[in-house]
Amino acid sequence: MISVKKSLGLCKPLTVNGVRGNLGDVTLVTQTDGSRNKVEKEKFFFRLLAVPELGVVVALIICISIFQSINPVFLSGEVVGSIIQAVTFVSIIAVGQAFLLIGGNFDLSVGAVAGLTAVTSGKLMTSAGLPVWLALFLGLALGALIGLINGLMVTKAGVPAFIQTLGMLFVAQGLIQVVSLGYPVYPLPDVITKIGESSFFFTLGWNALLWVVISIVGDFVIRKTAIGRNLYVIGGNSEVAKIVGINVARYQLWCFVLAGTLSALAGMLVMASLSAGAPSIGTGWELTVIAGTVVGGVSLFGGIGTIAGAILGVLLIQCVQSGLITSGLSPNYQLIAVGTILVLAVFLDVTRRKYRNTVRKATTESPSEAVERTVNEGGDV
């Protein structure tokens, strides 16, 4: 065998006749004629179409170029930093929400839980005088507990997720007022302010770091682990999941706990960046989170979508909101833009799926080509 070194086969086909790379590298087809190249391009096109996040990435690029051309300040370090700052909190929650949605559930109480844990841990570290680490830990535990209650009520008691989490939204909002009496918890210990003001890279600190880590871990788990695979089965059809021996209730329960915990984390990060446990933290986030995840290609009916998509979706919405400001439009247009994007995103996704199916039907490919392509796509659709 002639060993072929990895290269960008698309641009520079190697000229060793008749030798193909192993299954992994179909781009290493070693013929130089134009028809081959065309086939390669088509394959590349198909693989591109197979990327579930394609739509949101394209939309993001378009938005960025438009806003950049209107006002070049858009891609300045300051604006980018502020967009990321704004995105981190909501998209940490979006990770939890995406897990829930892929597994066939959803949680409306995430914003209220974020607010409640923020004021509660704030109170614990000030009025109750607990050490900061313990107060933060108890905040996370409170989020997890609320997730657990949601999860138990949905999976064991059979209350629909919509009702259970809507109820929890009201309860948590009420508890915010009970705990805070309507006033921001202030002043907080210096450590909290330091966390909030931390800056490792440009203006990005702890919250950005946690956001990146959680996103990467979340995306990895959903794509590459058995847990992720099983969640897609559950979201696709929970009856089937039960029959093939997946403990559906346990998976869904843990998704609720995860969503609750991540909401708590986000809430406390906002508290740190504000240096105050404001009762308004998290208000209205539940819908922003769901809009973002759906824009990113996560299905409301379960079983479809990725974490990367969800985060890109939240990012897209934030880009548009910030872009409208740098373009000098009234902030009143932001909500109109968000609503339009939401509907448009789902419409484009539906169209993409349809197009992909019809195009694939029309191509005649041999089984072995199908095998090659399939291996390349890694079954990641």
Binding site: R229, N237, K242, G245, I246, A370, G379
Partner: protein, 507 residues
């Protein structure tokens, strides 16, 4: 048939290509007044392409050839256009809106053509008329939720007839019906024929063709393989035309085993009924040996499927259920699965396939842990295993990355069998494994089942098709009224014995 009378529906040299694939080549078809005309064919024979062309799902101008209706050449543009022109279609799936009345269900889709103001009384009257004319015996004023399966099917037919069509096209109408329901349907169709309704009957159940149909057209490889008049209809002719060669000898004797291990044992197993659709079980007794196929025979509603459900851990039971030597308490699907018990349920759509995932992921579902290292999925190995099992079972698809919605019934079933095999089952429970599967693919599935058995797996098969059950099973257990009534080894019993015990004539 009298060839002087003009055909109601005539199809001339109809052809349709998909890319380079010729799905239909020069098909001629004549349907005469007041006849029931059977169209038979295997997967890929062109049956469904023909149906889609006749019902306007594929517009006529997307194909070559001509369609004549009552002597006039027609161009069908869409499904609603075909319906307007007099081609009514009764789909395979029963689609009824449960919380509307029967009459509203019958006229669903036509409400707007009945006048601007919606009048329930008018719809009741129209439905009552239709009911009387064709003696359907439907409770037109009742809410549809309370209807039996046979009645639901009748509503579907009534809905199609409501537009006064020239031709009524029935697409595998008995697929989801029990034998009794199928008999009701047959009676309905005979009544329709008396009322001069012309029907096309698509099926792969040959006895139905013999009993009901006046003429038959058999398709193979997109062409007409055979046209039969009533006097010529015979099972051998039809089957040979469908598959192109004669089928294997039915009375294949398998070697009897004298030494065996008991894989599964049920003693006085009882399951209470938790909903009206579920039959309560009591005193179920039988054992399953390694490397055997055990058939559960009995009427629909006798408790056959409930026995499988109990074994698969889907319903709590009392009594003794032993897997190997282990007595099971607190059953759950997960626990039974871990003991090597795998079930393929009857309802592929609702309890089998995952329409959000590709075929590879469908096959791997539930066995993911087998393909992981430190919790990570080994994508290539997963893919190769899945495609290997699909290769062995000869799943026909353009790609293993396709979604299962595009596959035919037989291929969907093979995907589910591939899923079952991937988990290396010790005990395989098959509920109606050939439901909605055509004759050719049926033979393949029988072969697959036999091959699985050769590997030592114990298999329990439930089937409404008694011929199939007797053909496959090494031993047969007859179920009647929620309990086991009789059992016998291959060759010791026949259809008559099953029916005697199964209908409760003997206890």
């Amino acid at each position: 048939m009298n060839s002087q009378t003009p055909a109601v529906l005539e199809v001339k040299k109809l052809g349709k290509n998909f890319g380079n694939v010729q799905a239909l080549v020069g098909v001629d078809l004549e349907i005469y007044d007041s006849e029931i005309h059977a169209i038979l064919g295997q997967n890929g024979a062109g049956k469904s392409t023909l149906v889609k062309l006749i019902t306007g799902l594929y517009p006529t101008n997307s194909a070559t050839g001509e369609i004549y209706l009552n002597g006039k050449k027609v161009q069908l543009k869409s499904v609603s256009d075909a319906r307007k022109k007099g081609l009514a279609y009764v789909p395979q799936e029963i689609e009824i809106v449960d919380n509307l009345t029967v009459a509203e269900n019958i006229f669903a889709g036509q409400i707007s053509s009945l006048g601007r103001v919606f009048s329930l009384a008018r719809i009741f009257n129209l439905a009552e008329e239709l009911n009387k004319k064709y003696s359907f015996g439907l409770p037109v004023r009742a809410i549809a939720a309370g209807l039996s399966t046979a009645q639901r099917q009748t509503v579907m037919i009534a809905r199609a007839l409501a537009s006064n069509p020239s031709v009524l096209l029935l697409d595998e109408p008995t697929t989801s019906l029990s034998k009794d329901d199928a008999a009701t349907l047959a009676q309905n169709l005979i009544n329709l024929k008396k009322n001069k309704v012309t029907m096309i009957y698509i099926t792969h159940r040959i006895p139905e063709v013999l009993a009901l149909c006046d003429r038959a057209t058999v398709l193979r490889d997109g062409k007409v393989a055979l046209k039969l008049e009533k006097s010529e209809l015979s099972p051998e002719k039809i089957i040979t035309a469908m598959i192109g060669h004669s089928i294997e000898n039915k009375n294949q004797v398998s070697k009897s085993q004298s030494v065996y291990n008991v894989l599964l044992e049920l003693k006085r197993v009882s399951v209470p009924s938790v909903n009206p659709q579920q039959v309560a079980l009591h005193d179920v007794n039988f054992e399953l040996r390694d490397g055997e196929i055990l058939g559960l025979a009995g009427l629909v509603g006798s408790g056959r499927s409930e026995i499988l459900s109990a074994i698969a851990g889907r319903s709590p039971f009392s009594g003794i259920l032993k897997v190997g030597n282990k007595e099971i308490s607190n059953p759950s699907p997960k626990k039974m699965r871990e003991l090597g018990i795998v079930i393929l349920t009857e309802d592929r759509k609702r309890e089998g396939l995952l329409f959000n995932l590709n075929l590879v992921r469908n096959v791997i579902a539930g066995s993911t842990e087998k393909f992981t290292k430190f919790g990570l999925v080994k994508v290539r190995q997963e893919f190769r295993e899945a495609s290997k099992s699909m290769d062995t079972l000869a799943v026909k698809t353009r790609s293993y990355l396709a979604e299962p919605a595009h596959l035919s019934g037989g291929n969907q079933q093979k995907v589910l069998l591939a899923r079952a095999l991937t988990s290396s089952p010790k005990i395989l429970l098959l509920d109606e494994p050939t439901k909605g599967v055509d004759v050719g693919a049926r033979q393949e599935i029988y072969q697959i089942i036999r091959r699985i058995k050769e590997s030592g797996t114990g298999i329990i098969v439930v089937s409404s098709d008694l011929d199939e059950l007797l053909l496959l099973s090494d031993r047969v257990v007859v179920v009647a009224n929620g309990t086991t009534a009789d059992q016998f080894a291959r060759g010791e019993g026949d259809e008559a014995r099953v029916l005697r015990f199964g209908t409760g004539l003997l206890q």
